[in-house]
């Protein structure tokens, strides 16, 4: 197991600039990731289309959220050395010196135990078991092993982020049928093109931190190729719920139209030179921005304005941003259809 020689909290902490606030501990739980996990977990719970007491449903979603937050805290403890070297992550509470690494680890362990035990006792032990597996997979298999070892880190590690719909479904029904795993498969196949698009324009950061992301190990060209291959597999899988009695007509329309846009953007990335040169716009605030149409070539450079993205970096940024929107739209469609009571399609009887 690839473990740092010295515990992160010992070596990569700077002098605290201020006392830690409760918000800093909340940041350890990666609230942005938690919100996506809550959304997909809730969709799994509602898409099961069975009755569950509203309070128990809320407790299940809360446990999924806290479990995800716990694994985030464990990740921030272990990866503090990496986080300190990357622009995107160096402001996190542990590398910023606001919270001790040991406190982050303790928070992660306590919240893991509480969320799994509460989910098991209040809902059922299948859901609790899946949540425990998710936490261990993310914190141990992905964070401590895969991330520092192989370029396939986010492919295999993506399973942890993909499981919440199955946990939600299991919480509602006590079982996890094929349709629950189809939702898992959608997120699992979404992860590689999503993260590789991001890594194409911040690969210098990953290289500096020694993280073997695909562009760092295999190069930008191979990454662009892999993005296209995974996208070609991903989109048909996104259409599948309309054939298995999970999604209805709204879902079919969203997945079909969005899928065309996704494939177009993936094709543009494939044809571009994204990642061949470092993008000067790799500031934190630019990560989630979508590129508008190219500015007129005659536009004079303005001092203080951010530099334009290099080469195909804007194609990678566009795919990264759209991938978030697409996943959100897919699950929003499933959620809306289940809540309204739209009959699911079953094109393959």
């Amino acid at each position: 197991m690839a473990k740092p020689a010295v515990l992160p909290s010992d070596t990569h902490r700077t002098e605290p600039v201020r006392a830690a606030r409760w918000q800093d501990y909340f940041q350890l739980m990666k609230p942005r990731v938690m919100s996506l996990v809550v959304f997909t977990g809730l969709t799994g719970l509602v898409a099961a289309r069975t009755h569950i007491h509203p309070l128990l449903g809320a407790v299940a979603v809360l446990c999924i959220a806290v479990g995800a937050g716990a694994s985030g805290a464990l990740n921030m403890w272990y990866d503090a050395d990496i986080d300190a070297k990357m622009r995107r992550t160096r402001g996190r509470p542990v590398p910023a010196g606001l919270v001790e690494g040991s406190e982050a680890a303790a928070l992660g362990v306590v919240l893991s135990l509480l969320s799994v035990m509460l989910l098991g006792m209040a809902i059922n032990w299948l859901a609790a078991g899946l949540l425990a597996f998710t936490i261990v997979f993310y914190a141990v298999v992905y964070t401590m092993w895969l991330k520092r070892w192989t370029a396939q880190n986010i492919v295999i590690g993506g399973l942890a982020g993909a499981l919440p719909p199955a946990i939600g479904w299991a919480a509602a029904t006590g079982s996890a049928p094929l349709n629950a795993w189809l939702m898992v498969l959608i997120i699992f196949l979404w992860t590689p093109p999503h993260f590789w698009a991001l890594s194409l324009y911040i690969s210098t950061d990953y290289a500096k931190a020694g993280v073997p992301m695909l562009p760092v190990v295999k190069g930008a060209k191979a990454t662009r190729q892999q993005i296209l291959i995974y996208s070609l597999i991903f989109i048909p899988v996104c259409l599948a719920p309309a054939f298995t009695g999970l999604g209805g007509p709204l879902y079919l329309a969203v997945s079909g139209l969005g899928g065309l846009v996704f494939l177009t953007l993936a094709w543009r990335v494939f044809r571009s030179d994204a990642g061949d040169a470092a993008d000067p716009r790799t500031a934190d605030r630019a990560l989630y921005e979508v590129e508008a149409a190219p500015a007129p070539a005659a536009e004079p450079a303005v001092e203080g304005k951010r530099p334009p993205p290099v080469g195909g970096a804007k194609d990678a940024r566009n795919l990264f941003a759209f991938s978030i929107l697409y996943l959100f739209a897919l699950f929003a469609a499933l959620l809306a259809e289940a809540m309204i009571g739209v009959k699911a399609l079953e094109l393959i009887p």
Binding site: R18, A19, A20, R21, H53, L55, L56, V59, M121, A122
Partner: protein, 55 residues
């Protein structure tokens, strides 16, 4: 001689640290109380459906 009550002052950074600590304590207390209430209410809901069946 100066009045000791008037000379007692808290340095700005120390005041910030105390304020941050109070905030952390309150957040922890709220979290613990919420957890206890949650377990209590979940118990009521889980028992509610089953207690009636025993009689």
């Amino acid at each position: 001689m100066t009045d000791p009550k008037k000379t007692v002052s808290v340095q700005p950074d120390k005041a910030d640290a105390i304020k941050a600590r109070n905030g952390r304590n309150i957040a922890l207390a709220v979290g613990l109380v919420a957890f206890v209430v949650l377990v209590f209410v979940v118990t009521l809901v889980r028992l509610g459906a089953n207690v009636g069946n025993r009689f």
